[in-house]
Amino acid sequence: MSAMAIVWQFVEVALAIALAPLFTGWIAQCRAWMQNRSAPPLTQPYRMLRKLFHKEAVLAEDASLLFRAAPYVLFGAMALAAAIIPSIVTDLPFARAADAIALIGLFATARVCQSLAAMDLGTAFGTMGARREMMIGFLAEPAILMVFFNAFLLFGTTTLTGVVDGSAAHPSLIDPGAIFAAIGFVMVLLAENARIPIDNPATHLELTMIHEAMVLEYSARHLALIEWASSLKLFNYATIGIALFLPWGIATHGASVGAVFLALAALLVKLAACGAVLALIESLSAKLRLFRAPEFLAMAFLIAVLGLLVHLLMGANACA
């Protein structure tokens, strides 16, 4: 493990934390353009965070330690996840400690923590949101695992850095199964990040909320951390998607500083494209009835399994 690798590790996490609100702002801007509205500035999420950090935190009288600790746990979990995902370099010392399955566990930890905190105060909306979040979560996890298995089978590793290194070593390898996996992944991404068609981050209708219902009782710095963690989660999902399906340009082991800067430029271009596509999907679709969400996620799971089948069948052909 070189000293340089440790530096890149920190740079990468810092970059994720700094860029996450920008990515959210970019999606909001694309959405506004596609709906013929005048768009908020790109920096709007940062202004929101600054505003929230300047406010006085108000806590319910019955709030326990869990309620107060949850925003920090959430933010910590998402920052940790960013350390495992190779967004610009694959030489990440941290990634050796945890593979992609541990990454799903990390997201699950954050989810459980947030749901418990939402139920902590005993308000009707918090409980309702937590209930719905757990329903979405337990359906989304198997689907994302299936997506990962597609890549794992292809490169014989369970780490994301391994997958990126593998695809860099075989740039001509195009697996048709990956197309299925990518579709499944985008569906899970929408569900997991409270986007339309599963949830609407812009809604003010408390009865329809999932993610928003859980954070209704938070204010000031707590809310800021939760919002930031949500941006970071979306950023993480986007970088996972890029690592799995569009890994070109990510600097591999022993790359020069110039290659890393090139990787950063590539990342920004890819994120901009991903954000625009996400905004397009969100603008074109209406929100699903809550009870269609299981069908939606079951479909994501099925598509990922199809990818796996295609991969296995092709593999069998290649051997024969």
């Binding site: 013929n36 068609p197 812009a202 003010h204 408390e206 009865l207 679709s285 699903l288 009870f291």
Partner: protein, 519 residues
């Protein structure tokens, strides 16, 4: 219904009431009050309004009035009670379920108790004591009371896995206050109970301090989205009471404004329905259409939301010279835009999946609950005063009747689309034969002590103003009735069996007025 005076008991006396529609009053004793209501129910009459009045200074009695919409006319039942400590009258709730809340409000305001067992306050939210009644003649409008919060007994639903979600009166978005208590199992709604009255402003008491010639301005502000309907109903009552005849051009311009109000509200609702289904594109585009209409309103009628355009004796101003061409051009553009947006809504699988079979109100339920207006028409009931009881200019220029049968959110959305097109056709026909001449007529002084009714089909349903004149151009009593009174209870039935997250969409598809019902 036909009343033959020879067959009536001595306390049933029929007299014609001044109104813009054919309207008669029957003075009824307690037995006749109940009996006539039963017969009206059997004839499928609709309850339009129910209100109380304190006439102790005149003849030592209290009165309760009920206005019904019959097949050919409006019938007002008046029942007088002696001024005892606890004046009581028979409840009409067994025939007209919507009467329950109106009877509770009559007690809160005038202190007349119906025989219905539900004695919870409706409009009184601990803002004044239970034994003080603001609309009695001896109650001081300026009186102040300390607010002492009182509990409100919502109906409890018990059973395995049943729990309650209290929603409101303060909501996450900026909307009017209303308290909704859901009893649910999982996500399924077993029961919804509404509590309204948070926006009670004491408008009916305020009327009594105004001159009869300026009352239309307050009436327009009872529910801001129905400004034309309320101010026209007010002016119609006043003009009927004084015998004033408005010039034909003024009637035409009032109808034009009423249809503009309808179109603007329908456009806003259609956008909001798209937004509540998570389809923000719809909101943006319908909002733009609505904004264009509001700007046109401003240049043609002088007010975006048409406040104070309708005035006693006619309208506040004539159309500017270039208005006709402007209006025709706008109608053509709007019709094209709305047709395009309708195609987008109807071909969007996601939106249709949210709209169809959501919040279904069956025709039979709507009928037994006495639904009125837009909500009734979306459930297959042909209730539209402009068609069934037309007044000028609707009696000379016909408007197409629109009825949908399904009773779900999609039906209420479709009805709005169809009504926009029907209103545009009507506006064009009206402009093509727009009468020339004056837009204002002289309104003579009103004779004191007259009761007059103004009933106008607003965009939500029939709006009613019952106006009683006082000496020296004053107002003795004014009851302003929004159709939301009858339609709020429909929502409690439309939500049954649906899931909690669909409630905002269902609520928006009715889009009832909080301010109008709270008064």
């Amino acid at each position: 219904m036909n009343f033959d005076p020879a067959n009536e008991s001595p306390d049933e006396r029929l007299e014609v009431l001044p109104s813009n529609l054919c309207c008669r009053r029957i003075q009824a004793g307690a037995v006749a009050w109940h009996e006539i209501a039963r017969r009206l129910r059997a004839e499928q009459a609709l309850l339009l309004a129910l209100w109380g009045a304190d006439d102790r200074d005149r003849d030592g009695r209290y009165r309760v009035y009920a206005a019904f919409l019959g097949r050919n006319e409006i019938l007002v039942l008046a029942h007088a009670m002696d001024a005892t400590a606890h004046p009581t009258y028979p409840s009409l709730a067994e025939f007209f379920p919507a009467a329950v809340r109106m009877e509770r409000a009559v007690f809160d305001l005038v202190g007349l108790r119906s025989t219905h067992p539900d004695h919870r306050g409706w409009l009184r939210h601990s803002g004044w004591p239970e034994d003080w009644f603001p609309l009695r003649r001896d109650s001081d409008a300026a009186a102040q009371f300390p607010v002492a919060p009182e509990p409100y007994a919502f109906v409890q639903v018990e059973g395995d896995g049943v729990h309650e979600i209290p929603v409101g009166p303060v909501h996450a978005g900026i909307i009017e206050p209303g308290n909704f208590r859901f009893s649910i199992v999982g996500e399924k709604v077993l029961r919804l109970e509404e509590r309204l009255g948070y926006k009670h402003k004491g408008i009916e008491k305020r009327f009594e301090a105004l001159a009869v010639r300026e009352g239309h301005r307050l009436a327009a502000r009872l529910s801001g989205d129905s400004a034309v309907a309320f101010s026209w109903a007010w002016c119609a009552a006043l003009e009927a009471a004084t015998g004033a005849v408005i010039p034909p051009r003024a009637a035409h311009l009032r109808a034009l404004a009423l249809e503009h109000e309808r179109i603007a509200n329908h456009l806003g609702d259609l956008g909001a329905l798209g937004n509540d289904a998570g389809f923000a594109f719809g909101l943006t585009h319908f909002s733009r259409c609505k904004e264009d209409l509001l700007r046109l309103n401003r240049s043609v009628f002088g007010a975006r939301y048409l406040m104070d355009f309708v005035a006693p004796g006619g309208v506040a101003r004539d159309l500017p010279p270039q208005a006709l061409q402007q209006l025709f051009d706008f109608y053509a553009t709007l019709e094209k835009n709305v047709a395009e947006l309708r195609a987008i809504y109807e071909n969007h699988a996601g939106v249709q999946d949210r709209f169809r079979t959501t919040g279904t109100l069956a025709t039979a339920t709507a009928q037994s609950l006495g639904a009125v207006g837009l909500a009734a028409r979306a459930s297959g009931i042909r209730q539209d005063l402009r068609v069934t009881h037309p007044w000028p200019p609707y009696s000379e220029i016909e408007i197409d009747a629109v009825v949908e049968d399904a009773g779900d959110v999609a039906a209420r959305a479709d009805l709005r689309f169809e009504e926009i097109f029907a209103s545009l056709r009507f506006c064009r026909a009206l402009l093509a034969q727009l009468a020339a001449g004056a837009t204002q007529a002289e309104v003579p002084d009103a004779e004191p002590g007259l009761l007059a009714l103004g009933v106008i089909e607003g965009w939500r349903g029939p709006v009613l103003i019952a106006l009683e004149t006082a000496p020296h151009g004053g107002i003795r009593r004014c009851h302003a009735h929004d159709p939301s009174w009858q339609n709020w209870p429909l929502l409690e039935h439309a939500i049954l069996g649906n899931i909690v997250p669909d409630f905002p969409l269902i609520n928006k598809s009715f889009n009832l007025s909080y301010s109008g019902q709270d008064g």
